[in-house]
Subunit: 256 residues, 2 copies
């Protein structure tokens, strides 16, 4: 039976790979990666570096699947939907071409396949259109959220309190949740926390987490926002893009 | 300089250990574990199994730190506070006795040290009382949340929507959040979702995740709650305790 593995590889540092991921890497006949354009060529290079380091078979190939054009002007969910469908078609073709019967295809997924990653959705959609659909297996990976917390030496939650993992878009629309809730923001191209000054919030920010140019900044949001804007701009200039995440907390409430 | 490492080891399966964790394991002179009583002796055994598998030095010791009595009748936060302080004192003593100057002590932390785990808090508190406080380093680990998602082959979030990671206690007090938000419940000894029947919720439940007796149940909450109660009772009978976690989602809203 054909299988398709979604293997979480952590972010930035090949040392975040788990033993289970190494085993999975060595079970695969072909690796696929969604090409997101030149500006993210580093993400492809990181996958190749992981194969070079952990794959014992040296004949496995890393196959880039083209990036369908994205209708940025379409309504958000419709745009996402059409783009996923176009990628599913491309994946189905690539899978048929490169994975033998009884073989195993794999994706090396940045971070964890279950956290704000579309690979599973695209793969599921692609399989839905196949006569001999392979079985999906998922190998969890260390997410940037976890690296953020580790580097800042903090817990993600306050004692017994919730953690809200959300996006910049949602944070802008919803604002901060109830006191006690720690907020982790991902996929925030616009640094939505800039609109939350003057509330006494604390921020733990990290960019390029796990990589050689990792940047960490923590403190009172009002005090450090300038440093964060500057650090982000510098990374964006260096790479052409920046991946960052941050945790926000309200000031400690008197516990009653 | 003395160091203390908090090493996330995933849950249930030694294959969740990362390469970085293996390196950290082999840097440590002594391992500490908080003894939580006989009923969790398996948690200690799992740590020993990880050392047997990954530690190249075979002379390292796994030192149990006694479990101070917990005032279960005290108000929740005060009780947690006194218990952490008592454990900090015990850790300080054990660290001085077992870790040489310039040496390295370590904790193998179930799951991820940043997610509903008190080790970091206790260690930070213990260090605050030391003249020659070691430096803390944290190695992220795969959390049960991630294993839950991997096993059910789901993403934790709906497209572009938040994930609320919370406790059984909080879920009971706050109920379900706004539509779109996926809710992950941890530390829920009483299966608080039993109070949320009749709302059309979907549940993805898992217990003993990563281990040989892993149980998974998914479906409409109203339909599968009986199976979950039964599976939990069976595991509790077998082990004397049960560790489970689950994801709840509201029915899909028409996207507008």
């Amino acid at each position: 039976m054909r299988r398709i593995l979604l293997i979480g590889i952590g972010t930035g540092d090949p040392a975040f790979v788990t033993m289970q991921a190494v085993t999975a890497i060595n079970a695969a006949d072909a690796f696929f990666v969604f090409d997101k354009g030149d500006d993210k060529a580093e993400l492809i290079a990181v996958r190749q570096a992981i194969l070079d380091r952990y794959a014992t078979r040296k004949d496995v190939s890393l196959i880039a699947i083209g990036n369908p054009p994205r209708e940025t002007n379409a309504r958000y969910l419709e745009g996402v939907d059409a783009w996923h469908e176009a990628r599913a078609v491309l994946l189905r073709e690539a899978f048929h071409r490169h994975v033998p019967a009884d073989g195993c295809g794999a994706f090396l997924v940045w971070g964890d396949p279950a956290i704000y990653d579309s690979t599973l959705r695209v793969v599921t959609r692609a399989l839905a259109g196949m006569d001999d659909a392979p079985e999906i297996e998922i190998v969890p990976g260390i997410s940037s959220i976890q690296i953020l917390a580790a580097r800042h030496r903090i817990g993600l939650n306050d004692i017994g309190e919730p953690i809200l993992v959300t996006t910049g878009r949602q944070l802008r629309e919803q604002g901060m949740p109830a006191p006690g809730v720690s907020v982790v923001v991902m996929l925030d191209g616009e640094l939505a926390c800039r609109e939350l000054l003057g509330q006494g919030l604390t921020i733990y920010w990290g960019a390029a987490l796990g990589g050689p140019d990792e940047r960490l900044i923590a403190g009172a949001l009002d005090d450090v926002i300038g440093d964060i804007v500057e650090a982000r701009a510098k990374l964006r200039k260096q790479y052409g893009w920046v991946m960052d995440t941050y945790l926000l907390r309200r000031p400690a409430e008197p516990k009653t």
